[in-house]
Amino acid sequence: MMSTFNLAARNLMRYRRRTMLTALLITLGVAALLLFVAAAGSFKQTMVGSITDSMLGHFQVHRKGYTASIDNLPLNMSLQPKAVAKIETALKAEPEVAAYSKRVKLGAMFSNFAENTSIRLNGIDPAAEDATVPALRERITEGNKDGPLVERGKVLIPELIAKGMKVKVGDTVVLVVTNSSGSVNGKNFTVGGVLQAVTGPGGRDGYIDIADARDLLRMENEEVMEIAVRLKSIDDLSAVQKRVSVPLDEIRNKEDKPATELHLWSQLSPFANIVAMIDMMTLFIRIMMVAIVLVSVMNVMLMAVYERIREIGTLAAIGTQPGKLMAIFLSEGLLLGLFGAVAGIAISYAVVGGMNVWPMVFNFGREQIVLHPTLAVSEVLGVLGLSIIVSGLASLQPAWRAARMDPIQALRHV
């Protein structure tokens, strides 16, 4: 009929309004944290997905030192065919690798016969690129979306250049490059499509067939500047990085030093800094929630002990062990935290459900983002656990005080 938790629940309901207000505070803290995590998580997921699926892949392999001067697109820092073969062997041996794409990257002058501008070109194998960055196709705003990504003699150009240079699909343009030996070479291309802008590097990136890129550069060997890799699941990224790094480290240069380097998407995109900032904000909100729970529960429990000093004296006098007294007050704090957190979780699920029925749309840079927040069970359980643990910690001191109270003094308390 009565247990420690039952007694604790009844004691909480003794001061119904105070209990409800404190629980409401905890509820708001938990809901604020979970909703931020859900919305920020959705934003992160959308952005990371956009960056990795339409441009970078999950990780990339380059010749050692290439990324340090990647802005200049150096032609003399390519991976030689022998190294490329070894990298491909390593990638094929890794079961979590879904696809990879070899790229020849080069800087070129883009001319519409009236004006010139610079363009960063990616020479790609259309099928491999499609498999590695499947969302690239979705960025094609003009041109054929259903055929191969690029065909020989055609170029996909960024929206920025299409608008700036006033060219459209089907127009002829000239791409002029300087190769690694200093020779200048130019070739006519047809604009095969226009690519929607994307946040971060890549805003001036165009795409041509890898064979065209090698022709332009008069490349005799099948060198590549970059190998972009897509995994079956991005969650396995760090594990795959560790595994793939082993065979890659065995590819040595003449000085017997590693000839390649592996970079994760987060090391290549400035959006990783925004992700880090979001994570930092989540941490601060988490700390605020802990502070709210800690202060509110401790305040209520200190008041509860103070208001029930005579009762504590009575319970101690009739033989209640100090540990049991402590358990009664600890249970009150834990129940308060549990009740507040469960209500906060219920509200969060309701709001997240609503946000999926009526999605929030906003612009981030040149991208339109539609939030589809979700609450991970692990996050919900983590917040619930944290609330209960913090409530327990907040009740510890008042409960200890109750347990250590001198029964005589307590019974005399007015």
């Binding site: 005579r310 319970l315 101690a316 009739i318 049991k324």
Partner: protein
């Protein structure tokens, strides 16, 4: 063997730099089934003595045995266990737990202190409720002072203690109710063989008590009686 054997017990309280004596070498014995009262003016040491008998405090010197156990050196946990197993308390202000019903207040020592099984608890609590003439559902805020004290008596007796200590149990009750409570306690003593010791300056209790110890200025004026 006496239920309580006190030999030359003293109790001093530290007030600032001074030791203030509350009990100055008291010796007495009380047997099983006693209905005894410690009487005396305020500050005579009645409550201090009751606290020592109830293992809520330790004597400064002397020996005190209750139910054959030297209780003068019990630790906090040992004293709590001893109280829970052998002693019952009745307070001037009833001191019921307000969130519990009459039944639950009476059940509390069996559940939270003694850990009895539900069936055993139910049987015992119902017996006590019948004995004190209460109903089980009432909450303290729905009870009169007399009803609260009945429940308090039932709570004190439910664990079948050998000794019940009552500190001014009739002070907050009217004349008739006070007599009914005293008669109830006497009936309980007769039915269950439990000893009752009061601290009081209520003449009603003094008249009903079968053994009276008069305390004055920390000294026993009537010493060494065995009921």
């Amino acid at each position: 063997m006496a239920l309580i054997q006190a030999t030359n017990i003293t109790k001093n309280y530290r007030v600032g730099d001074l030791d203030v004596p509350a009990l100055k070498g008291i010796s007495f014995a009380i047997g099983e089934g006693a209905f005894a009262a410690f009487v005396g003016p305020s500050g005579s040491g009645k409550s201090t003595l009751l606290n020592l008998l109830g293992c809520l405090d330790h004597p400064s010197s002397g020996t005190l045995t209750v139910h054959g156990r030297d209780v003068s050196t019990l630790s906090r946990n040992e004293a709590a266990r001893f109280r829970g197993e052998h002693l019952g308390f009745v307070f001037q202000d009833f001191n019921l737990v307000p969130v519990l019903s009459a039944y639950e207040n009476i059940e509390y020592p069996l559940l939270m202190v003694r850990g009895w099984s539900p069936e055993k608890r139910r049987e015992r609590v119902m017996k006590m409720i019948d004995a004190v003439g209460m109903t089980e559902q009432e909450r303290p805020d729905q009870m009169s002072g007399g009803q609260k004290q009945r429940v308090a008596v039932a709570r004190a007796l439910v664990g079948e203690p050998r000794l019940v200590l009552a500190d001014e149990p009739t002070a907050n009750l009217d004349h008739d109710t006070a007599y009914r409570i005293l008669n109830l306690m006497k009936t309980m003593r007769d039915d269950f063989g439990t000893s009752f010791i009061f601290s009081t300056h209520d003449p009603k209790i003094m008249n009903e008590a079968e053994l009276t110890f008069v305390l004055e200025d920390g000294r026993l004026q009537t010493e060494g009686g065995v009921a």
